[in-house]
Assembly symmetry: C2
Homo-oligomer: 457 residues x 2
């Protein structure tokens, strides 16, 4: 079948044809970093009630034997790739520690890795196949998210709505679909894309549904394309496609296929160092830098003004009174209070006890966000942090962070990633330290793995 | 948990609390009519390539034993409710013969019945439970579609995007969820809602994906709500909910809960008599009436002008040159040519041979649609047909149809429904006539069934 001359078809063709040998070493190494980081996030989030309900659904509706494994080995079963990725994809988006791709405003790891791992296990792919498929998944998902832009993100959880196309592309690559079949898979993925931010307003559980279902549905798209189901061929730019229906503002068509194969999106994803919503990170870094530079302590701060971009105001403005630990990670005031008081905002720094800490709650009330046009214009290419602190003795201090710790410009070292992984595994209740170390070593050696089974805590 | 004072919460509460005894007999009888009509559509569509691919997906990813059955008995397996409804929901939306609810612009049967039947079989519900759940499903799905209105329908296949909430409500009722859990199920359903019209432009297979997945995903919403997954509590009207994100134009909030329990949406759904897109039906009826009234024959017609509403122009305008039988059912020109030549447009009247019939193709080219403001203003409350025929001998004749055959004002009799069912079963390749007659009788006796298994051809 001849393909149409569209950006979407060019993306599908590139996805189907990418080989391991055409990926620069830096992108391969970064993919391994991102994979290990994802593994830690997945085990850390395994006990969330949404994940438990989704596990029950998988056991009720799906098989309890199969080639695809659950990262949480205590569940004691394996299943088909669609259900394994549903569970792993939900679990990896719980603890707010997964990576973030700035330009697309998506968290690619939480959808690409669970889907690619489950399909790789199903088809018996090796480490190089898996890495290649993940690079494809990142490329497609992140480009689609960048095409949608920030007006889409106002309503939609773009990790899911853009990510589902990345999942479909990664799965299609592992299934060795040709460009036309891959284009079908993208069409079927895009017409299933969903995920609204409404759940943030009442702290309910849709976040994990969105990522888990993006995996399941993207896998549906690829397997059904293999089996003859035709997906529409211009789901991104067509007159009734995603750009038309799901993007109220500006789209960026050139993001779909500009510099394909020259630049790699895995290189532009940021690790999270802090354990809160990524929109708080640049401000946390700016505040910590300010406190160090001027020797200001938690108790000395009277108020903090945070000039920021609109998307941060939108997302963080929905977390209300922070009744839950999860909500507290979406409150700029609460997060800055934790950082200011503890000098860090790691995963163990958010807990029930702190929710009831009057000094933190009081500090939280003295943090205000305001719209900053210059910062907003630079977003989402740059996620700039800025804080203006007024001290109780009357000083007004200001600090900026051009990027956050973990951004590509300031990425985490392998030592830091290992530390983070150990901490995530510990948070997830893993006591077998040797197992954690062995999985870390497997991740660093991923391209030489002949079989992808066994990434189980 | 106390429920918010919202329309969505009122709808959830009503859904959870409805009992069989509170449903008027007319609504019960109509539900049985709609169920039989759906069964016929399901068996008629069983061989579509999209259905075949989806069956393969179900066998690869799901169990091949379970309590929920496939209407197509030749497939030779049963499965879990999510997968059974995925397959049956896809198959029942193939032949363009399923019901249509005017105000919501949705086809409720193709999502409500497959999901409710599969869950009823899973939980061991009886006929009265099943009918009650279907009435709930229609009510919720149709009200949500009416809330979204016609601007939503410009981009979205609302049968899926609104229907998924009906599925969730029907499944929740069968699972005996309380109002708060039902509200959770609606939230989780709504945040998964998807389905774009883009596939119409290249005649690909997303239509069946949308209905099958609406079943699967709505069942996910209900079962996961039972197991503790919290869905957002104002998915319809919340500031980042469906109304905000998925409706570019006017919403109708009162449609969500006006006259709840007094009026029943099952009574407002229309049967399809013709086998084409429902947007062509009023014009077909008007043309056939005109030809009868004035004794005009196919060969005598020079041209047909069809003044119509915008949604018809949008949907029918996307079918291009009608390369496939399916596309031909979406071409006003082709459908009117078939009706004018054959005096009817039943399921056996659309085939490959007619696609190559020069007289039909030539007639097709002499049919033009134009926008009619009066008809558009009345839509979707009224789907009015109007044709202006110019004959080769120079007469200009005009006819209107205030509604189509099968509309609630002119519904099908049980005899007509039996005829249609036999014809659909025959089209689907069913040779066991006794079996068809037995299923027809079971449908008429549905409220007395103790067990819902065995609706299998």
């Amino acid at each position: 079948m001849s393909l149409p001359q569209t950006r979407t078809a060019r993306l599908a063709t590139w996805s189907a044809n990418l080989t391991y040998d055409n990926i620069p070493d830096a992108a391969i190494q970064r993919t391994k970093d991102l994979f290990l980081d994802w593994l830690g996030c997945t085990i850390a989030g395994r006990s969330h009630p949404a994940v438990t309900a989704i596990v029950n659904f998988a056991k009720t509706m799906g098989p309890t034997t199969g080639k695809s494994e659950l990262v949480n080995g205590e569940l004691g079963f394996s299943t088909s790739p669609a259900f394994a990725s549903l569970i792993n994809g939900a679990a990896s988006h719980v603890v707010e520690q997964d990576d973030l791709h700035n330009r697309s405003i998506t968290h690619p790891a939480t959808v690409i890795f669970p889907a690619a791992l489950a399909v790789a296990q199903d088809v018996g792919a090796d480490g190089k196949d898996f890495i290649t498929a993940c690079v494809v998944g990142y490329e497609v998902g992140c480009r689609v998210g960048a095409y949608f832009g920030k007006s889409h993100y106002e309503n939609f959880h773009s990790t899911a709505t853009a990510g589902i196309l990345g999942v479909a592309a990664a799965a299609a690559h592992l299934l060795k679909l040709d460009p036309a079949q891959t284009l079908s898979a993208l069409g079927t993925a895009g017409t299933q894309a969903a995920g609204l931010w409404q759940f943030l307003l009442d702290a309910t559980h849709s976040k994990q549904v969105h990522t888990g279902k993006a995996c399941f549905d993207g896998i549906f798209a690829a397997y059904s394309a293999r089996d003859g189901l035709l997906g529409t061929r211009d789901i991104l730019e067509g007159p009734r496609g995603m750009g038309k229906a799901l993007v109220p503002g500006q789209i960026t068509p050139e993001a779909i296929d500009r510099d394909l194969g020259k630049d790699f999106e895995v290189l532009h994803s940021s690790f999270k160092w802090h354990a809160s919503c990524r929109h708080t990170h640049p401000s946390v870094d700016a505040l910590l830098a300010l406190m160090t530079k001027h020797g200001v302590k938690f108790e000395e701060i009277d108020s903090v003004l945070v000039p920021t971009y609109q998307a941060a105001l939108n997302v963080l403005g929905m977390s209300g009174d922070c009744e839950t630990v999860h909500q507290s990670k979406f409150s700029m005031g609460f997060v800055l209070a934790i950082a200011a008081k503890k000098g860090q905002a790691m995963i163990t720094d958010f807990n029930e006890e702190d929710l009831r800490d009057a000094s933190i709650r009081e500090f939280q009330g003295r943090v205000n966000m305001v719209f900053d046009e210059e910062i907003d214009n630079a977003f989402p290419e740059r996620w700039t942090g800025r804080v203006v602190v007024t001290t109780k003795d009357g000083r007004v201090l200001e600090e900026r962070a051009a990027f956050a710790k973990g951004d590509p410009e300031f990425t985490l070292t392998r030592t830091e990633l290992e530390t983070k992984t150990r901490s995530l595994a510990k948070y997830g209740g893993v006591t077998n330290v040797e197992k954690v170390e062995a999985l870390i070593q497997r991740a660093w050696n991923l391209e030489n793995e002949g079989d992808l089974h066994g990434f189980v805590f």
